[in-house]
Every structure is written in C-alpha cells, then in structure tokens.
Symmetry: C2
C-alpha cells in the first residue's frame, strides 16, 4: 500500500493505474475509520478496482471550531485498517496542500442543500462539495463510494457530479450499525458511557416511525411527533431536527410516499449525531 | 472535423484521442469567431495537440438579458473557420444539454473577481467559472487556451484550475487587434459605422497611458485621469471603469509597478467593450 502526501504523487499513481486499464475506486474519508468506512472500501475492492482512500479532516466543512478540534484523529490505526482491506493507495494531504495561500474557489449546490443539515450547519455542504471536487480532480477515480448514513451528503455529491459533468460513478452503501442499532460514526468515540446509552434514542425513534408506517400511517406530522417524543424520552438528548422529505429533492413532504426519507439530528451531550431511514 | 452535440460523444472523442497518446488542446468560445479566436486555435495546433473547440453562448454569464439576446450567433461560418484552422472536434451543445432541469451547482471564485468586470457585472464570473468547469470536465483537455483581451477571465480561470486541482495547463495569448488598434471582439459586429469610429477611443486611451508610463509617470491617479479624458473626448463613449491594478491580485494600486494592468470598460452606444494594457 502506497501513502501519498502530495497532489502530484497521488495523481501520478492514478494515471499509472488507469494506463494499465484498471478502474480506480475512491473512498474519501476524514479518518477515524470504523466498520462503516471499511464497508465502503470492500465495495471498491469487490468491484475489482484499484482502491484509493483519502484521509483528510476538512476544516471548511465544520461550522463549529470546537467540533473540528475535537474530531478524532488516529492516522496510524487508520492506515492499518486501509491496508487490511486491500487499499492500494492512501492520500493524506496536509491542510496547506489542500488549501494553499490564496485559495478562494468554492463549489455551491442549491436546492438539495437548503433543508436538513444544510439548514442546521451553514456552509457545511459548500465545504464538503469543494473538498470532494478537489479530491475527485486529484484522484480522478472512475467510481466513488459514500455511505447512506450521510444521506444528504450523498444526494449533494450526486447533484454536483451531474451538474459539473464529472465522469465519475457515485455509489451509495447502506448504513452500518452497532449490534444495538446505533449508526456507526467517528463521532461516537466522543460519547461517554452514559451518552452512548442515550444515543440509542436516534435508532429507536426511527424504529418507532417504521412501525407506524408499517401500520399504515403516512401523515408526516404525527410520525414526526412520535419520533421527537421517542428521542426526548431519553435523558440527555436534544433534538436538532426531525423531518420527512422527498428522497430526491430533500424538500419536506406532508405524507410519506415512495421514496421518502426520515432524517434526524440530535445532540447527545455536546456531540451531534445524525441518522435516517429511507422508505422506498 | 467532427461536430458533437452530446456530452457522451464529446467525451468519447477526447478519451479516444488521449488513448492514442495525443494531447488535447481546448478553446472554449461563444462563437461569432474572429481572428482573436483563430489565434487561440493556431496556438493549440502549433503545440501538436488534437484541437477541440466549443461553441456555446452561455446564458449564465450575461448580466443583461438584452446583451444575451443580441450576442451574435453564426454557427455555419464558425464551423467553416474551425475547419480551416485544423480543428479536430467542435462541441456545440444546446442550452438544456449544459443546464438540464434541476441544475443547481455553481463555482464561485473570490478575491480576483471583486474588482473590474466582476464589480461591474454581478454574477458574470460565477457564470463563466461554472460553464468552464463543466466544459473542462466534458472535454478533459490537457491544455486550454484563452485570450488576454479578457484578462480578468484568464486570471479567474487560472485561479479556479489551481484551487480545484484541475490537471489542465492554461495558456494566455496576446490580444489581436484590427489595423487601427481596436481589440477584436464578437461585440464589435454590433457597432454602427459611427460607433466603430468612437470605439477607437479605448485603444487610444491605452496608448496615451503607455506614453505617460514610458515618460516616467507612475502615479495611477494622473494616468487614469488622462485615460478617462481620452475616452470621453470621443463623442458617444461612456466610461464604465478605468483602473490600474496588480496583475496577479487585480486589486487597485496607487503606482504602476511590474506587473500592473490598466483595464478599461466603456459603453459605445449600447455595446460594452473592454480592453487592457499589461505593464510588465
């Protein structure tokens, strides 16, 4: 496994792989790798591609400086995990490699960024889109793989790829969960044992909604009421948002129809967690 | 010479050319081709590359609907000119090919877009950067060639390519002029015979400034006073801006130093013309 720190080295690897006729699969990450990331990597390998992973904690997508500072970083363990999954190349740029002096370009996506985390975290998706556009241009993959846990991010990246005519196929992979249902997230590492118990409220509220839908309820308002109640019944959980949206446009919808997304965000202690359930 | 209307066809051509080891040179245009454009094409051919030209009057870079409507379009003559210069492929997409329903992504460049035409034409450079990013991703050239007449555009594109890590070399070519000094522009076609005479005011004012600098003057204020006076001495000319800026940052500077850019814009009748002089 190669580890590259410069843009030129990373690009040269990609060019060489493609010259041999291999497809390049790419999994961009912010490190602190868990089973969710590893599933994305396996998907790349399964598709017979040379697998590139990037590890870069992108400062421009954090709307809170404290969240950026507290984001878990454990590069040695991350590299071991990449190696174990059959990764061919890892890109670990510094902040100044990605954002040198004078950097002043950004990629903005309208529409699908206006609701959910886009509304709750101003500038977040501009930061995500810009860094992913840069990483795509550096790694030049044929396919890129993202998790459905960050569902809005996946929709935003698909929109960007279509709108900027990037010749890249975007693959979404289902959320990976702990045995008790908590969605895997690098931020889970920041939870105290008692917060870890409280965090289960997110998955439970999705399960409660699923039960209502299965029982024939489709009214968003009453489902969301139940979702909020379920989350707030657990001490130490503060709901940021709970929404039912069209899964393509991410606009609020009054009734659950196919495909609809129930998306939730909540603070557990100081840690903001998100989760979602797709009704399709 | 091939003429392509779809993104897939254009991209397939480019892929095939590169697969044979050829470099691809790209000249994006809005058609109404004149000697200035042809010079850019010759530069591509001179570099031994397969030459792709795009012809697309981009609606999103016009800040005035009337200017967009009045922009000259003459596709048959344009194709003849491309053929005569040894162009290998021409891309002539429709508006809906470039901006299909739901398109909502834009590329924004800060800093270098804040002065000059960026200040005078809100949204113009966002429109330019976005369409050029798209065209770059469609054509995937190794080199792209732009004219120095649109000096700020050239600076903006260089900034975008650097900031988004696009693997493309940007080449600037000197402004091509009519025998009497008027900078070639597709908009010149809209001038009446009397406006055509008035339009010479732009080049004359640059020449007056050049004389002052050659005589040892460096104070921007007095040079710009002379530039404005020279332009306004010609009936039918209304100055939009006249500025002396650092040629890298495009920020106003009080004294001409190397490299400085004198940039001017003026309305001649209803037609807005620009010109510039680089002091390096």
């Amino acid at each position: 496994m190669k580890v590259f720190e410069t843009i030129d080295d990373m690009r040269e690897w990609s060019r060489a792989e493609r010259a041999t006729g291999k497809r390049v699969a790419f999994v961009p990450t912010m490190g602190a790798l868990h089973e969710g990331h590893l599933t994305l990597m396996r998907e790349g390998v399964r598709r017979g591609a040379a697998l590139a992973v990037s590890i870069f904690v992108n400062p421009t997508q954090f709307d809170q400086a404290g969240d950026f500072a507290a984001y878990p970083r454990k590069i040695e363990g991350d590299l071991d995990k990449c190696r174990a999954e059959g990764t061919t190349a890892v890109f670990v740029p510094t902040d100044t490699t990605i954002y040198p002096n004078g950097h002043s370009t950004s990629v903005t996506i309208g529409g699908v960024t206006e609701n959910l985390c886009g509304a709750a975290r101003p500038g977040h998706f501009r930061g995500v889109a810009t860094v992913v556009a840069k990483l795509f241009n550096i790694v030049q993959p044929d396919i890129a793989i993202f998790g459905e846990k960050d569902f809005q991010q996946l929709v935003v990246i698909r929109r960007m790829v279509r709108d900027l005519d990037l010749p890249i196929e975007i693959i979404g992979c289902p959320t990976v969960r702990e045995p008790d249902g908590l969605a895997m997230s690098s931020r889970n590492k920041r939870l105290t044992p008692s917060e870890r118990r409280s965090a289960l409220a997110l998955h439970r509220s999705l399960a409660a909604a699923e039960e209502m839908v299965r029982a024939g309820k489709s009214d968003s308002k009453s489902i969301l009421k139940k979702v909020r109640q379920t989350m707030e019944a657990m001490g130490g959980v503060r709901v940021d948002y709970a929404k039912i949206v069209d899964a393509d446009t991410l606009k609020d919808i009054a009734k659950v129809k196919s495909p609809a997304l129930l998306a939730i965000a909540a603070f557990v202690g100081d840690t903001r967690l998100i989760d979602n359930k797709l009704f399709s």
